[in-house]
């Protein structure tokens, strides 16, 4: 028996204290590592979402700017006037049907699968067919169009022009990337204005 005890005692091994310390240090470092890993993953998602929103914002602003610059704004016959601020822009083209951009209803089928998303829809055949121009997970929270003057300066009403103001369009857009995690949601809001290059008078 005495010999057995000696053998056990001389076996190489760790004490309970040593094991506890090792486990504590190990789990602590794993905890830190996983937190760091997760936060980097979140950061990379955020960056990707942000770049998706920026891409959509750039495209939409440049697209509308280009169209509004070189295409006449469709006005009702004077003295009829446009709504002061809307979320639809109608441009009339001489040889083709009107070009329209509008904000969709919430959860429009064309916008993708997410139920709470609004997107921007474009029609180049006066409203018969519509196509989305924003990405599936990008929610267009705000799409505000302001056209002035509200009555066309290019068509006579009686013997006079109602106003002498070159058409000017202001557009304000706010887009949000719909991510499941709140910390990955990215928003961007921008505004620009375009003075029409269509000179009639």
């Amino acid at each position: 028996m005495t010999g057995d005890k000696k053998t056990i005692a001389s076996l190489p091994g760790f004490s309970v204290i040593e094991m506890l310390v090792v486990v504590a240090v190990f789990s602590f470092s794993i905890l830190i590592l996983s937190q760091t890993y997760l936060s980097f993953i979140r950061l990379s998602h955020r960056t990707a979402n942000s770049s998706a929103v920026q891409q959509d914002m750039r495209f939409v602003l440049e697209y509308i700017t280009r169209m509004a610059r070189h295409t006449a704004i469709e006005y009702p016959v004077p003295p009829g006037s446009l709504d002061a601020a809307t979320s639809t822009l109608v441009l009339s083209r001489d040889d083709q049907p009107a070009w329209i951009i509008k904000l969709s209803d919430t959860g429009d089928v064309l916008c993708g699968d997410l139920p709470e998303v609004k997107c921007l829809l474009v029609s180049s055949d006066a409203g018969v067919n519509w196509a989305p121009i924003t990405s599936k997970k990008v929610n267009v929270e705000k799409f505000q169009i302001l056209v002035r003057p509200s009555v066309t300066p290019f068509v006579l009403s009686g013997n006079n022009y109602v106003n002498n103001q070159q058409p000017f369009v202001t557009l304000l857009i706010k887009m949000t990337y719909m991510a499941p995690n709140d910390r990955e949601v990215v928003s961007l809001e921008a505004q620009t204005s375009i003075s029409s290059r269509v000179y009639v008078r």
């Binding site: 960056t47 942000s50 505000q144 302001l146 002035r148 202001t170 505004q191 204005s193 375009i194 003075s195």
Partner: protein, 210 residues
Amino acid sequence: MRTINLAGQTLIEMLIVLFIIAMGLFATVSLIFSNVALQEQDADQIVAINLAREALEMVQNKRDTNWLLGDRPFDYGLLVEGAVDSPVAVIDCTVVPAWDGSAIPDPFFDPTPNDLSQARVYKQGVEGYFTNVSTATSTEYQRLLTLAPICEDPNNSANKAVAEGACACPPAGFPTYTKRIGLRAQADIRWMRKNRQRNLTIYGDFYDWR
């Protein structure tokens, strides 16, 4: 006693390895963070460039409206003093758009601000339009327009110059560049991001060539 020749690393070797790993990690992490910072800067730049473009479009709209009105010079309300709809007292040729975010704005300009620090951009009204008129929430951005006439030699139309820093062409009688043929509008945007100042400048030339 038998000595066992245990294979292992020396302290120096371990230090070198740790140093190399640390360098690699540092490079990766700093790359990630600079990527994030640039992304934020990019987002700001989208807003800034569109605000700048808007200011230039407003100048163009003012010129075109002056043309439509027909009874005034092309730069009425911009560089010319004594306008009815815009009492421009030109002191240093710096203006901001005087649109207050309402649905029916007039295209005129406010000459009061003299530099960017007096030309804050605000968000206005229910819709939250960006404007230079100070009655609502302020943003990080400042926007100022600087106007300079483009002057021509009346005897030789090949000679033109931008009268930078001046609000008018030299008076008649000077040898050259006395005829005002256009104006250069420069839009400056300044904003702060993480305590660092960013700038953006664009300009456009608007001629009286109808």
